[in-house]
């Protein structure tokens, strides 16, 4: 075997390794990638509805406590739990993170929510990659992104961290969703 045959032998190996992942799986996962990214739609909506949303938040949240079922409708964000267990979250305004966090926890999702541009320092990433795509999907609903949580797909001991990015000049803030290790300090007891 000379050098050329050696290189050919190395090249031949590439045709013997095959990826079993379908393109449909990749495309589905791509939606989860978008979910982890900043969501400009939320920020765009933020600018448009900010004036009325604050008033609506005060008005509506008073009549829809976090424990109310099946849904709590707030101007800043909306959480709707569906019969199949999936939870639909729409964030319109970065307000009342504690309320959103409490609502998600009440719906059975260990969650940490921060809208300060900082993540909860007590949260640790959940080991493994690619799992978030099974728990979270995002689709566009009107001008806003709709985040769909599938609690049944949450791995044991895992929770979700919602964190807004810090507003910086020239960028629009968005919300990132990550899988974290559930703990009393991060996602509540």
């Amino acid at each position: 075997m000379n050098d050329e045959e050696l290189i050919t032998a190395v090249r031949e190996q590439r045709s013997k390794i095959h990826s079993a992942t379908s393109v449909e799986q990749i495309i589905g996962r791509g939606r989860a990638v978008r979910a982890r990214r900043r969501i400009p739609g939320a920020a765009a909506a933020l600018g448009v509805v900010a004036g009325t949303a604050v008033a609506l938040t005060a008005l509506v949240s008073g009549s829809h406590p976090a424990s109310h079922q099946p849904s709590a409708r707030l101007a800043a964000w909306t959480v709707v739990k569906h019969a199949d267990g999936d939870i639909y979250v729409t964030i319109r305004q970065f307000r009342d993170p504690a309320g959103l966090q409490a609502r998600l926890r009440a719906d059975g999702v260990p969650a940490s929510v921060t809208f300060t541009g900082q993540r909860n320092a007590a949260c640790r990433p959940y080991p493994g990659t690619g799992l978030i795509g099974k728990v979270i999907s995002v689709r566009q609903e009107g001008s806003r992104p709709l985040t769909i949580i599938r609690p049944s797909a949450l791995p044991s001991g895992a929770g979700l961290q919602f964190a807004s990015s810090a507003p910086r000049h020239g960028t629009v803030p968005g919300v990132g969703v990550d899988l974290v290790q559930a703990s009393p300090q991060c996602t509540g007891g």
Partner: protein, 172 residues
């Protein structure tokens, strides 16, 4: 380009590139499951940014670069939490997970995985992904001359490893 056309375009790119990207990343990280996970994630990111990635001069190189970056981030993140084996040590392992599955030449794979990490990456990009020297250098963030040097050393090591008889023939 409409969404349907984009999807078809991406599907064709994926069909054409998925195996060579997987093999390229496998050579870099030394573990089949890890490589599969990284490549799947990188392709998902490619689809999420397909308008941009499709205009990249070498989209497969973009995928590999993204997968390797993700591996570095993953390693750094895990390093803070749990101890992980050094990648070099993994490469020295006689039974690298997945590498000897199927009809691959176990002897060649073992020799490749014994190479130092950078040499493996250069071999993967130059010989598996068929990138030219300049593009391989861009992906790895090293100069074209460094790519050439790593490749030459890698070929020499593989030659010594796989063709010991030639090594013996050399004058001492």
């Amino acid at each position: 380009m409409g969404v349907g056309t984009q999807r078809l375009d991406f599907a064709e790119f994926y069909r054409r590139s998925k195996d060579e990207c997987l093999f390229t990343v496998l050579l870099s990280v030394g573990d089949r499951d890890t490589a599969q996970e990284l490549v799947d994630e990188a392709f998902a990111r490619a689809w999420a940014s397909w308008r941009t990635v499709s205009r990249h001069p070498a989209p497969a190189a973009w995928v590999v670069r993204t997968a390797l970056n993700a591996n570095i981030s993953r390693w750094r993140r895990r390093r803070r939490e749990v101890l992980v084996p050094d990648l070099g040590a993994v490469a020295d392992s006689p039974a690298v997970a997945g590498a000897s599955d199927g009809p691959v030449d176990a002897r060649i794979m073992a020799a490749l995985l014994r190479l130092p990490s950078r040499q493996r990456q250069v071999v993967a990009l130059r010989l598996v992904l068929d990138l030219d020297t300049a593009r391989a250098g861009e992906v790895l963030g090293i100069s074209p001359s460094a790519v050439k040097a790593h490749l030459a050393r890698a070929i020499a090591s593989l030659r010594d490893d796989l063709m010991p008889e030639r090594q013996q023939e050399r004058p001492s």
